[in-house]
């Protein structure tokens, strides 16, 4: 096997040093009744047999490569520049471990320090960690962090317009704890109704999402005020960080914790993962942050360098009192996001965000002009909800046959939203694609 080097002569020489007569002898400390009774029964393929097998599996997938997708809902098709893909494949980045030995890990460390910095600049925040697993886990960790800050307060509130999958993960994380979640309803304009906050005792934190799951941009300034009036931690999350190319940064609106999914920042959709859990907060909460942090320091000669720092929050020191159990994170995805933000630059990032918004507005207007209803009045970024005529589900299936993915049906997330579909338009959809879609939907 090409991944193993030992020849029979090597094996014989090494076994002799170890003092056992064969390879089985190496396992003599394992009791008989813990052993397998039958050999491993697994297929084995050559490199090109594997290529064929994997090509067959990959062919049984819908991908953006041959479908016109108008689907977002937490996973976005953005163009990934070759420069990002190519640099990210450098094996010095790919095959390194967590940078515990800083002298030979400065590449990863400076790269992640720059990622933390660019995330802070994007979100208007003071401190960002080196990443969490994904947007869903980031929201769960944000709520747990709010509970730690709130000490004896035991309740958190979460908008029902936070991505429904994130909410499910929140439920999983909180299920075995003594903490409660209150779900906040939404208003007719497609934004969160915070009027119920006053009725909640014991409120540690409140999470809203903007743009939210219906695509709507929340009034974060008002939300922040309402939440801070209740002396609770203001958490705002996102699944589409590109929006902050043109929206006011949440940090400027007094958010305490900003977190979400960074897949849009140069990471392939890859059937939902790996993505990137982005997590940022105000400086005053830095010692409550979950996850790793890279900090700047100097070496013995006074030269600038970087290390993992504030590890007294982490489990290898604090064990059960750690701020989180996370160890491995999504480091390479954070590097990808750094490379993507660097390639776009401030100017490019802003223009790309504007283009996403403008294209989505074009489709929205065209569908409206075609007589379809846009049920929620709130401003949107690159996603919006359309109400389609009854029975559209059949046409939706038919459009799939024509290789068009016409939005994501909302009824499985909000039973009251039958015939409502969430459409997404990124820079990868042309005006012609959108015109063709409108024509099909109208037909």
């Amino acid at each position: 096997m090409r991944y193993l080097s030992h020849t029979p002569e090597d094996l014989a020489a090494m076994l002799q040093v170890v003092g056992v007569k064969d390879l089985e002898g190496l396992f003599r400390t394992i009791p008989e009744d813990c052993r397998r009774t039958a050999p491993l029964d697994l297929p084995e393929m050559t490199e090109w047999e594997l290529n064929d097998h994997m090509a067959r599996l990959a062919d049984r997938m819908v991908s953006w490569a041959d479908y016109k997708t108008f689907a977002g809902a937490g996973s976005y098709h953005h163009y990934i520049p070759e420069v990002t893909r190519s640099l990210l494949s450098r094996s010095e980045f790919v095959t390194a471990y967590t940078p515990y030995q800083p002298e030979i890990s400065q590449g990863t460390l400076q790269g992640i320090f720059e990622y933390q910095t660019l995330v802070c600049r994007l979100l208007g925040m003071e401190v960002a960690n080196a990443s969490l697993y994904d947007g869903a886990m980031a929201v769960a960790e944000a709520l747990l962090m709010a509970i730690r800050i709130g000490r004896r307060k035991k309740t958190v509130a979460v908008s029902t317009l936070v991505n429904p999958y994130y909410r499910k993960v929140v439920e999983t994380y909180l299920a075995p704890t003594e903490f409660n979640v209150v779900w906040l309803p939404y208003r007719p304009d497609g934004t969160t109704d915070l009027s119920g906050l006053d009725a909640i005792a014991d409120l540690a934190g409140v999470a809203v999402q903007s743009p939210n799951f219906l695509g709507g941009i929340e009034d974060l300034a008002a939300a922040g005020k309402a939440i801070h009036d209740r002396d609770a931690i203001f958490i705002t999350c996102f699944s589409e960080p590109l929006a902050y190319g043109i929206l006011k940064a949440p940090g400027a609106l007094d958010a305490d914790i900003v977190c979400g999914e960074g897949q849009s920042l140069g990471i392939p959709q890859s059937f939902g993962g790996p993505g990137l859990g982005v997590f940022a907060a105000k400086q005053q909460y830095v010692r409550n942050l979950p996850g790793r942090l890279v900090g700047q320091t100097v070496d013995a000669d006074g030269k600038r360098g970087f290390v993992l720092t504030l590890s007294t929050r982490e489990q290898h020191i604090r064990r059960e009192k750690a701020t989180s159990n996370i160890c491995s994170n999504q480091s390479l995805c954070a590097m990808a996001a750094g490379m993507y933000m660097a390639a776009l630059g401030g100017t490019g990032f802003r223009e790309l965000a504007q283009l996403n918004h403008d294209k989505a507005e074009y489709l929205k207007s065209a569908l409206q002009a075609a007589g379809l209803e846009i049920p929620f009045a709130s401003t949107t970024f690159n996603e919006f909800v359309v109400k389609l005529p009854k029975g559209f589900d059949q046409k939706w299936q038919a459009l799939l046959q024509k290789k068009i993915l016409a939005g994501i049906p909302m009824v499985c997330y909000y039973p009251e939203l039958a015939d409502h579909y969430l459409f997404c338009v990124t820079e990868t959809r042309s005006k012609d694609d959108m015109d063709a879609l409108v024509k099909e939907v109208q037909a």
Binding site: M1, Y3, L4, M14, L15, G19, L26, T29, D33, L40, L42, M54, D59, S63, A65, S75, V83, L87, S91, F93, V94, T95, A96, Y97, Q101, I104, Q106, G107, T108, G111, L122, Y133, V169, A175, T177, P268, F271, G272, G273, L293, Q296, T297, A300, K303, Q315, H316, E320, N325, S328, S331, L332, L344, G345, G348, Q354, L355, H357, D358, L400, S430
Partner: protein
Amino acid sequence: MNESIGTRGLILNEPFLWERGRKGRSGYSLPRRDVDPAPLPEHLAGEGPDFPDLSEVEVVRHYTRLSTWNYGVDSGMYPLGSCTMKYNPKTNERQASLPGFAGAHPLVPSELCQGALQLIYELEHYLAHVAGLEAATVQPSAGAQGELTGMLIFSAYHRDRGKPRTKILIPDTAHGTNPASAALCGFKAVPVETGPDGVLLPEAVEALMDEDTAGIMVTNPNTLGLFETHIQAIAAIVHAKDGLVYADGANMNAVMGVVDFGRAGVDVLHINLHKTFSTPHGGGGPGSGPVCVGKRLAPFLPAPRVVKTGEGYLLSEDFPKSIGKLHAFYGNFGIMVRAYSYILSMGPKLKDVSQHAVLNANYIKELLKDVYHLPFDVPCMHECVFTDKFLEKHKVTTLDVAKRLIDYGFHPPTIYFPLVVHGAIMIEPTESESKETIDQFIATMRAIAQEAQEDPSLLQQAPHKPKVRRMDETAAARKPCLRG
């Protein structure tokens, strides 16, 4: 000793991204604008992020230079104990980047993602088969989330029986994520002391196990690199009080094709695809931490699960006892593709992998134990643990040895872990290294022990060759500078 691998070389300095560039440059080919501008309402509009503007060439130079400051498995031997830094096959990367996988939206109907569903289904079966358990989930994103999944299953199982429990037994050799994951589920960690031979003794467990204890978390092989020989007896004690046995499978690379965890009495086992199943560590992730369970715990696995029907594969939510979801979608799918490719490339030879990994560790142990103190001189599994006891008289520590190894071109082993061994040096060579490389590593370790006697300052000041020298970690923590 042959000539050292570590040598001098030209390393290029590189400033921060924001110290490069000029406003108005771009390294991105902006798509054509084919629609009219539609400005946002003024009260929502921001100024856009303050990122530096760089050309494509500048971005390439920047990250290429950064990459040369790193050391990876592709650079050389990386004997980091408990981390299984084996070779990451190139074909795995190719398969994960196939457009059908990399370009797949996660929310398409099942009939349009059969390839991915089949891959997940088969991978879960292969992993359960290798573990000797009944079912598996690949949803957890890393080992620590796999542990959390295991603890959520413990919690849900006891609640389902109407008897929630509050404590969990965790050996003192455990990785810190074990107690942290248990704490997230509200379990109070009760430490169990390791016996004099470095393995857990049934009497220690018997003394602590009661009907308020949810079960035990055992790393097996443990973090001293030893197989927990009493695992079956310990499982029987825990099961007798209706508790469950969790095995941390971070060290699975030692026992594939050898141990049947089901027969050993294990109820839940997590596996790290980024250790045992060859997926790259990426400088700290993304990983993947699948969880395998015995039959009675299968109903509690995270949903949705991939099921096989007459018409193909389906994502099913129909598991009322499930602990729920841990990831927005299905986990780190791109990592699953790589691990699946590895399993299909190796087949039953996964057993050879474990045999060679264990042979390499024992070989190193035998050839270093006269110069480095070996606290437990017994046959080890895939890693061996030494200490700096013999070097104390020269005022040389484990850290000094680790840093000196860097000068010779090797990545250091894991140091100061497990905590129960003072000054631990934990060496895991993996199966990937050739005999010549291992011989050179041994010769280097011996040369360093010699240097400790003759010129300890050489070690105390090490490393001498990398771009930077020892970092001031105290200053970094005292006055944190976390962004530029």
